[in-house]
Amino acid sequence: MLGNALLLALRELRRNVMRSFLTMLGIIIGVGAVIILVTLGNGATQQVTEQIASLGSNLLMVTPGKRMGPGQSSAAPSFKLADAEAIARETSSLKTVAPVSSRGVTAIYANENWSTSVTGSTEEYFTVGNRHIKKGRMFTASDARLGTAVCVIGETVRAKLFDRQGPIGQHIRLNKLSCEVIGLLESKGQSTMGTDQDDLIIVPLRTFQRRIAGNEDVSMIQVSVKDGYSTERVKQEIGRLLRTRRHLSANEDDNFNVMDMKEIANMLSGTTRMMTGLLGAVAAVSLLVGGIGIMNIMLVSVTERTREIGTRLAIGALEREVLLQFLVEAVVLSSFGGIIGIVFALVASVGLTGIMKVPFVFNMPIVLIAFLFSAAVGVIFGYFPARKAARLDPIEALRYE
């Protein structure tokens, strides 16, 4: 019975190849969109997780401000260099501690200028951030102590200001400060959030505070925990130390925040996952629209083929055979559209992940769900037209012009 219906349905669709394809297009696009978006979203999520994992799970970031939610904090007093020194001194099992302050600045060399950010820190910054010098040198303890006007620049800054010229030993102007380029960082490329990690200038913290910021503030303290030690314990130790140093009484909340990379990773992948879900839902709506398209065409087709249905009934087709034929036509259209959509989406996903430089994550469940959903769309939206066809009165249908 089902085999028969399939045979009749396929012959019917073959009679109208172009219309069948156009009908399927809605499903193809719907299924394609769902799979492409989910695949790209999963790829992005995985990339975020991997990149953060590569930074090391032993990195802690201490920022001022009360924690209010992911990525939000309220205003609170800044840290000073002394806070970083205290953490380094009084907390056990640390590898390094780097105080960091930064702000936007326009760097000028000869008649070239470039808007970038300048970061004031100590030589520990390079250890924590896993940055290496490609040419020249990094600043020394004496540079840090004296606050000399020297800087290390990233590859992007070098390219913008110096073009082919060697930068080492040249002087660039950062606002009112003229400083000598002593080192060039090895390129690190784009970060997870799409920012250029080579678009930066690093100066000694003291230089930054005195000659650029004009205050003693430290906006963030990066802490690297020794391998094999619990970041959780270190977080608690730092919390206790900072509460004392910031004179918080027992009933006051922390006005600073110690985040480890795991939390940041969760926060970011949570965001991308949510975006993936949202986009997937929007795409699913287009699948529904595709289903309505199928119903529309099937209804038109039933009207157009009224005489044919009458002939089938006269020849001896049972009501349920006509119903099944039209239902199978709709399901073949939608599931065939689903398969084409899946193939198209996988090819497009491989291409797009390549262009967007995110890993291609093949997600079998979503492919299966999309296929089943498209087949279900055929059943749901095909049933009504099929029932209409099956219930036709053969005499009326044969007389239909």
């Binding site: 028969n4 045979l7 009749l8 012959r11 009679r15 109208n16 005489r307 044919e308 009458g310 002939t311 089938r312 009934l313 006269a314 020849i315 001896g316 087709a317 049972l318 009501e319 349920r320 055979e321 053969p394 005499i395 044969l398």
Partner: protein, 233 residues
Amino acid sequence: MMNTSLIELRGVTKTYGTGTAAMQALRGVDLCIAQGEFVAVMGASGSGKSTCMNILGCLDTPTTGIYHFQGVEVGTLTRNQRALLRRHYLGFVFQGFNLLNRTSALENVELPLIYRHFSPATRHPQARRALAQVGLTGWEHHTPGELSGGQQQRVAIARAIVTQPIVLLADEPTGNLDSARSIEVMELLTSFNRDQGITIVMVTHEPDMAAFAKRVVHFRDGLIEKDHHNHVG
């Protein structure tokens, strides 16, 4: 059952609509058709001949009266049972051919066999044989659009006889054809009646076509006005 008739109508009436809008299409028709007859049904439009054909074809049921087909009372059957009756015992030829367009002659002829759940191995040769019987060998893969009207009607006849029905019901089979094609079609029908003993009931307007039948039944105002046998052949 005692009667020898293949088809027996007794006091059949058919009323469409209800109340004042009611229209009585048949007003007590008695008709017996025996196995192997070739009956032409004539009458003006509105005379009730089409309604009678629909009832004979088990597409419709009488309002009152009895229709026995091979001794089975059709009026008591369900829609599906009547469909099965049509599938196994009846063949239909229509004025407008009613072939599936963009579908080859062979596939059109196969259609009733598909509904009989025949395997491809049996239905292909059977459909080819039916096409050969109507003289369309070599045209199996042409679609209706590529065939002349006469050829299309011959495909339709092949589709009707491929299941070897007991009764062939033809509703103005020559209505859309010129006289030469009409005569070809009538000769085909006559040969099926003569050689295979298929009972044929055919509605027609044209006395020339009715002349091919052995018996002519005239309808007028929902009743049989005249029922006589031709002595031509």
